[in-house]
Symmetry: C2
Subunit: 603 residues, 2 copies
């Protein structure tokens, strides 16, 4: 099996050269840190990835979680990793010191999460979910909830989850029916209902599980405005410190295509009438709160998708650099020895495609992490501007890596031919694992509606304009280099195309034809994703060009920058043209899927 | 599980309305047949699909073939189906009467193969491979080989295979090293070597296995010109009728992502020096012969891919017509009951995409089958013309369904959200099964080289010109209907685009820059595939329009034709525009993947 799953050089390039992580240390929140600490954190993450995660990738896939006597049994590597994350301060890495956190920038920890997910995606979600759940308590929970739940979660002893979906309410959260009845005088709510598709909803790698759960308090407004958020532990802590069962059963573990190292569970709450939930924040504001965790989780999904694609890329690259097969197209003499397949243009195209998707996606995700850091350290108008950008780009950073990650892994598999289809190599597992990403934390369809129906039009298009400004700044910057100038022009044209399409669709929406406005929102998101990643490639191109311009370069550095620029060129020549067909379709906006009668599907 | 896996109505539409299967009965070869017989054949295939194949789809996936004591154990359904195919005359369905065949048109049996593959792809390959191997013996084998091997193969008692690939020779057949040493006076060759990835290379559902195997006779020319074709049975028939072991061992069965109901095996031949092979035709002409089977198998791969996509489409459609979730985009009132997801434009888009891929692919494949029939019944110039078309379209009919089938199944899975990822529904299996198609019988990269590097340029572009003529005839035909006129114009424009791209690339090739000519052959194939399927959609549009114009229509027929036309419109509005980005890229022909130094991948 290929040993390599990420490029350390590329991570450093993005952190320090493309996104200038060190500049964050000028703000009080991050002032204790510096390049040495970031380097150390990155090295530790790589070491953990190699030693604690990677070795169990295949084992965890082949021995998926089992439900035994009401308990979910997982691979021992899970508990080991959770404890290591607790001891190393990884779960609270971004939290403030006073809560036991490390106050590390999201930019830096996102790079580390990328490493963990590339090493073993299933294993990486356990601490990720715990961190997200703890962050939700940190943001909106009472002092008591914080003191009770955050320490054991940060220590990796208690698992966190997000419990939203119900059998009748998948994408449509307004239809959840899990009830939370206030207990008179008890300071808690009695929870009763069912949740499905709950990741890490139970397992024996931890002492307890803490569900951040959506439920409805009877008498509240209908729909999403009547949803409240609760902390619902599997074992509830009594005042004396004991943990007692909280009437919460795991009723099933799903058998899945991939992502098999993590249990996706079905939960039954309150069958005995004694499942206690503790309200987070105010009643009926639960969905607003949950969106904090959901938005973080969405970007983490993009990160996970890019990470699996990274592991697949290096497995394919390894193979391509070792496997002899065939001859150059220009010299088919069968008496010559065969060449390595990396010499075939079509194999190079497949490899460049993968690298373009992986590094373009990662760049977009780190861009979002940087915005999140800027939101944390800045105030007033500046903060608002970055919040707009982050809100706008969240569905894009979730979806581009998820959708393109699948194609990228598929091209990796294809590089190995028949071997890619067999389980001697990890590609077939990556192919299965990657398929979850366009589904969980909001399907691609939902992300499209979020982008076009909400984010693009909010505040009269302020976020969209801000995005165009940012991208045009990059275009201006790129024009200073002769080598980048043609790509800056292509980027400019793509931004205009995006603007035309957006204007056309928004007018339809403004005129009240909501169905026609949003019918192809998924394709709009696809178009937006390509443009956004092109922008990130141009941004990386500038950083690479700067690197090349610096004097006394090491040979390895030169090669890296030149490879980076070549991949950028690949993106602009092969991927960006896809904008044309998409724009052509979107500009038609003819309502072909809206006006059709569904009986036309009967035959 | 969804019960439906094909549309019988659509099969009849294609056979009788789009391709006029009955007109084939004017030729002596098919004169005994007629619509009633074709209908009966189709109904029997549907019944077999439902009763003998579909019930074992999941079981065969979950209990894949095992190698035990040198024998490959498969699910009992395999032997049962092979015997049923033997008894029903399915394996020799296209063969002449004098060999025990049925002389059925390929057009009709292709529709039946589609049914079998949609019901259970893994099970469907056993008789398919046997038929292909028998056809090879029929075309090029001696009388003795025919008499010995064809009857038990047609009876479904002996399995046929194609044994090409070796560990060091995957896509590059010129590098095979399996030896065939003539036995002085024995009338046979001693075979020694290894073969890998041999589908149905051994199993206990039959009495014997017959490998159509490529090997090199020492002293022959180097490369593909030194390859000969042999019949190599697992058990060789002695003059007295006994079957004795032929020194041929199965050394491994591969563990695969999907397609798990069929064993893909590794073979070792002649370890004891007593593996006998019987030459087919002349020495050193083996690859030419094998191309007959390979070309048939390539179209069958496309057929299998479209068939899996068909099964996935009906599973997704079933779900979409039963699952309530969310509300219309134009009325988000949470107090209203949820609507069925088939009412959401994005779900309709995903369903139309699938239907467009499935029915467009199937149409292209049946078009090829019709050409093959015309080659069988016609002579002289006419025959040559159809041969050109079939040669040109073979890589397209293999690849468009294979590549788009994956995306189609993936969209089917997406329609089910989280459930699509779980094994309660068949989508996750289809997703795994479908991934084999861009790999086996020549990868997509190889098909691209075949199309652009060989087929488009052969006979000074005669096949390509012939294709343009055929497509333009369809365009002319479509212009007679007001409703089809705009699509005829779009088709015309797409053909021009394809012609421009082809001209540009061919000039580069003619100038001798073979690497730059072929660097993006895969993308050229993608472009060609979209144009070819658009042509088929226009062809289907004409047949549907004719159907609608006919008087006294049943309501169900009206709906079918309108649904067909709507799907055609989907293809032209959503799929055909992809031509733009591809053409833009291909016209650049800048050698971006040719001139790069592979050390740029190191970082």
């Amino acid at each position: 099996m290929s040993e390599r799953f990420v490029s350390e050089r590329n991570l450093r390039f993005l952190l320090y050269e493309a996104f200038d992580a060190e500049s964050l240390t000028q703000y009080p929140l991050y002032q204790d840190h510096g390049r040495e600490i970031f380097d150390m954190v990155l090295e530790t993450a790589l070491k953990m990835g190699k030693e604690l995660l990677r070795p169990y990738l295949q084992e965890m896939d082949r021995n998926p979680p089992r439900l035994e006597g009401g308990r979910v049994r997982v691979h021992p590597a899970v508990g080991q990793f959770m404890r290591a994350c607790g001891e190393g301060g990884w779960i609270g890495a971004n939290a403030p010191y006073e809560l036991g956190g490390q106050q590390l920038p999201l930019l830096v920890t996102s790079a580390c999460r990328f490493i963990f997910s590339a090493a073993n995606y299933s294993a990486s979600v356990y601490p990720l979910l715990t961190a997200g759940a703890a962050h939700l308590i940190e943001s909106f929970g009472s002092e008591e909830l914080k003191q009770t739940y955050i320490p054991p979660m940060f220590e990796g002893r208690w698992q966190g989850t997000m419990a939203l979906t119900e059998p009748q309410a998948g994408s449509s959260l307004s239809d959840i029916v899990t009830r939370a009845d206030p207990d008179p005088g008890g300071g808690y709510y009695r929870i009763r209902g069912q949740k499905i598709f709950i990741s890490a909803g139970d397992h024996d790698g931890v002492e307890n599980v803490v569900h951040l759960l959506l439920a409805k308090i009877p008498g509240g407004p209908p729909g999403v405005k009547g949803i409240s958020l609760f902390v619902v532990p599997k074992l509830r802590p009594e005042p004396d410190g004991r943990l007692i069962p909280n009437d919460l059963q795991v009723t099933a573990v799903y058998h899945k295509l991939g992502y098999r190292g993590a249990p996706i569970t079905q939960l039954s709450l309150g069958e005995e009438g004694d499942c206690r939930g503790y309200l987070v924040g105010e009643p009926h504001r639960g969905l607003t709160y949950m969106f904090q965790m959901m938005n973080e989780a969405r970007i983490d999904v993009g990160l996970g998708a890019a990470a699996i694609a990274s592991a697949a890329y290096y497995a394919a690259l390894d193979y391509a650099m070792q496997r002899p097969q065939g001859r150059r197209l220009s010299s088919k003499d069968p008496t010559l020895p065969p060449v390595l397949i990396v010499e075939h243009p079509d194999v190079r195209r497949m490899l460049l495609f993968q690298r373009a998707v992986v590094e373009g996606s990662l760049s977009l995700i780190l861009q979002c992490a940087l915005y999140a850091d800027q939101i944390r350290v800045l105030e007033g108008e500046e903060r608002k501007e970055f919040q707009l950008l982050l809100d706008l780009l969240t569905p894009v950073a979730k979806t581009y890596p998820s959708e393109m990650g699948i194609l990228s892994v598929s091209q990796g598999l294809q590089c190995l031919g028949g071997y890619g289809y067999c389980d001697e190599f990890p590609l077939e597992q990556y192919y299965r694992d990657a398929r979850i990403h366009p589904i969980h934390e909001g399907t691609t369809g939902i992300q499209g509606l979020d982008l076009l129906g909400r984010k693009v039009v909010m505040h009269e298009g302020a976020a969209f304009r801000r995005f165009l400004d940012e991208a045009r700044k990059t275009v201006q910057g790129a024009k200073s280099w002769k080598e980048l100038h043609p790509y800056a022009l292509r980027m400019e044209a793509a931004l205009e195309r995006l603007q035309d399409v957006t204007a056309k669709l928004v007018v339809i929406g403004t005129e009240g034809d909501v169905e026609r406005f949003l019918a192809d929102a998924t394709l709009y998101l696809e178009l937006f994703g390509i443009v956004a990643v092109a922008w990130q490639w141009l941004h990386q191109g500038i950083a690479a060009q700067r690197g090349l311009d610096a004097r006394s370069l090491l040979e390895g550095d030169q090669r890296f920058y030149r490879g980076k620029l070549h991949t950028m060129r690949y993106f602009f020549h092969y991927e960006l043209p896809k904008v044309e067909g998409l724009a052509m379709r979107l500009l038609e906006a003819d309502g072909l899927t809206v006006e059709m009668d569904e009986t036309l599907f009967w035959d």
